[in-house]
């Protein structure tokens, strides 16, 4: 590999290739040459698709029936998150031998700052990263793609350019390299925003690069100048290992579309419990809640509500989300429901005494008892009635 700045760059973006699918292939070598899709349930979505499946057009987050229509001979595997978390930890441990400045972005993605590590590795970052990629393949059994660049934005773009098993470097040529690309290349520009930009005559990053500060402000509003800087490949974000999670959520796709409020609420209650558990595990609390629904026609609806005070009690999460849901149960059939905690608050702020809720301490104690039972006897040992179908549903 050649690049004039190869040995000077030190921000790396590491992305595992088709992570869940790769872990599954690692454990079942006979699937190596087969298209593999990891995803759940009759009506779930694709969590990950191997590169062979992607050749047929399968993408992650695609509904399973569409994926199977595109790639009928795919092997579908139910996700085994415990296994993926274990593999992720293994890779994270290897990252930590490279540099202490590792900021995980998700289970299979992280950004690393390797500045000042040359003496330690007796090699420049580029070489250390190449050794690291081989170590991951050897020890964790999955392949990764690495982007090396002067900043986080370019590192992420680089990591995506040469997948799978890639190693791509972007340096001083960034601006010229980005110019002919579609605006969609920038993280954060989705189809809706791209359409808006297109209506302004902006389709290529070159169009954004050409705007000066004032012009950007005038045409694109408050965030315009920042967008222009990113289009030029500039990014001043640091790699921050202490960076907290921004949201915690839980969602489920139904086996058949649901429109009745009581059916949706039953799922909502289970999700509230799941969300509460995840918040407790992360020692966080929800300061606000987002309800997410997807209609049978794949239109998304999200509704948000601040909580009067941060909480991680399933009851409180449920009651808040239920009020949001009530306004959306207008006969529309939904295929998916989810709730998310956002913004988050520290766990120490969760469920403080509330003057309007004299019984809250009692409910918190009851929840602690339920958690203790579940820890001892498993998740289904005890549950509230509202989590189960009513008599009316059975007949």
């Amino acid at each position: 590999m050649r690049h004039p700045q190869l040995y000077a760059l030190h921000i790396a973006h590491v992305d595992c290739d088709a992570f869940y699918a790769s872990v599954e292939k690692r454990d079942r070598p006979e699937l190596a040459a087969r298209p593999v899709i990891v995803g759940g349930g009759v009506r779930g979505v694709v969590s990950a698709a191997c590169y062979i499946a992607r050749l047929s057009g399968v993408r992650s987050a695609m509904p399973m029936f569409k994926a199977l229509a595109a790639c009928p001979d795919a092997v579908v595997i139910k996700p085994d998150f415990a296994k993926y978390v274990a593999a992720s930890r293994q890779i994270r441990a290897l990252m930590n031998t490279l540099t202490p400045l590792v900021q995980p972005l998700s289970i299979d993605e992280a950004v690393l700052d390797l500045s000042g590590t040359e003496a330690l590795h007796r090699a420049p970052p580029a070489v250390a990263l190449a050794r690291f990629a081989l170590a991951v393949e050897r020890e964790a059994g999955v392949t990764i793609s690495v982007g090396l660049a002067p900043n986080r934005l370019l590192a992420k773009i680089a990591a995506g350019r040469d997948k799978p098993r890639g190693f791509c470097v972007i340096g001083g040529e960034a601006r010229a390299l980005l110019a002919p690309e579609s605006v969609r290349l920038l993280p954060g520009i989705g189809p809706a925003f791209a359409r808006k930009l297109e209506s302004l005559g902006i389709t290529k990053l070159a169009h954004l690069q050409a705007l000066d500060e004032r012009e950007a402000l005038r045409r694109l509003g408050e965030d315009g100048p920042a967008l222009v800087r990113r289009a030029r490949g500039e990014d001043s974000r640091i790699v921050d290992p202490g960076r907290e999670t921004k949201s915690v959520s839980a969602e489920t796709t139904f086996d058949t579309d649901l429109s009745r409020r009581e059916d949706l609420e039953r799922h909502l209650w289970r999700l509230s419990e799941k969300l509460a558990r995840r918040l407790r595990e992360a020692d966080l609390a929800a300061a606000g809640l987002t309800l997410k629904l997807k209609t049978s026609r794949f239109a998304s609806r999200t509704r948000a509500q601040r909580l009067s005070s941060p909480s991680r009690l399933p009851d409180t999460l449920f009651e808040t989300a239920r009020a949001l849901l009530a306004r959306e149960t207008d006969g529309t059939a939904y295929r998916l429901i989810g709730i998310g905690a956002q913004p988050l608050a520290p766990g120490s702020d969760a469920d403080l005494p509330d003057l309007a809720d004299p019984l809250r301490p009692k409910r918190a104690a009851a929840q602690a008892a339920i958690d203790a039972l579940r820890a001892k006897f498993g998740g289904d040992a005890i549950g509230k009635g509202r989590g189960f179908p009513g008599r009316r549903d059975k007949c």
Partner: protein, 374 residues
Amino acid sequence: MKFKADRATLMKALAHVQSVVEKRNTIPILANVMIAARDGKLTLTATDMEIAIVEEVAATGVQDGSCTAPAGTLYEIVRKLPEGAEIQLDHAGGEAQLALRAGRFATALVVLPTDDFPSMTAGALPHRFSVSALALRGLIDRTRFAISTEETRYYLNGIYLHAAESDGEQVLRAVATDGHRLARVEEPLPAGAASMPGVIVPRKTVAELRKLLDEVSGDVDVALSDTRIQFKAGSITLTSKLIDGTFPEYDRVIPRDNDKVLRVGKADFAAAVARVSAISSERSRPVKLSVEKNLLEISAASPEQGTAREELDEGRMSYNSSPLEIGFQARYLNDITDQIAGEVEFRFSDGAAPTVVRDAADSSALYVLMPMRV
């Protein structure tokens, strides 16, 4: 229908009723005021289906009849007529337009049929009592700041009005809380109120009533049922639906045993809190009170802006218990001290427990404040 009224009288009445009219309503007739003349008496009525205001207006040359006309437009027209003008309104009935004349000005307004105008008068109001406008103002002013705007707990979106016993006295009690602070204010129980049910008066009703009370002296007649409340003051009658919900058992959250007592002059305290909290533009940042024997330090810190502190010592405050640190939202402290005239009394338990705040010279109001972590 036909009558004459002077501009000032009509404008005042229209101002009252039109403030109830929903500004962005989807039902056209709710934007209208009903003008009705019966037996020589003229009334104006407006409603948003939750609240209705009826006002009797002095008029001359009254011929019976009724119609409904756009409240906002009518008010604007009357407001712009010259002072002292005599206004004549004339409606021939049915779908005819409402003719308004004043001097050489004339207008004709499109009307909607009276039959479509929603009525809120139905139903008996078995509990009746009278309370002075002054007392009612006190109940509202000292509690309304604590009314919650949280939609999920809709039963907190109003003032809980009920009969209670306080230190052996029968009282009419108003309570409001948003979970962070609670205000409880009492007035001697008026005759006839002992058997009233506890009712939650919605925030908008409270606001409309409070506006009317500015113009009223003397007594207000209150009548209520489980679902409706009516206030009658002079020529104005305000009827409102009540919030259908259960107010929390607030008594459980009022601490009884807080024994660390801080007393501080209201003016000194409020000014110091205002100065110190200016360091942070973030409204939810806490102000810290550090109190020890005869010394109170009020401080605030903002990671971006810096720190500020102010001391109040002997002569301006008194405290005679073990040292304590506790944080509160500055705005919440202000809302409460705004209601206190002379000396503020804080009763603490510890830095994490609800604190009781009172006017040292007035036992009729009690406030509870949740601390924030500092």
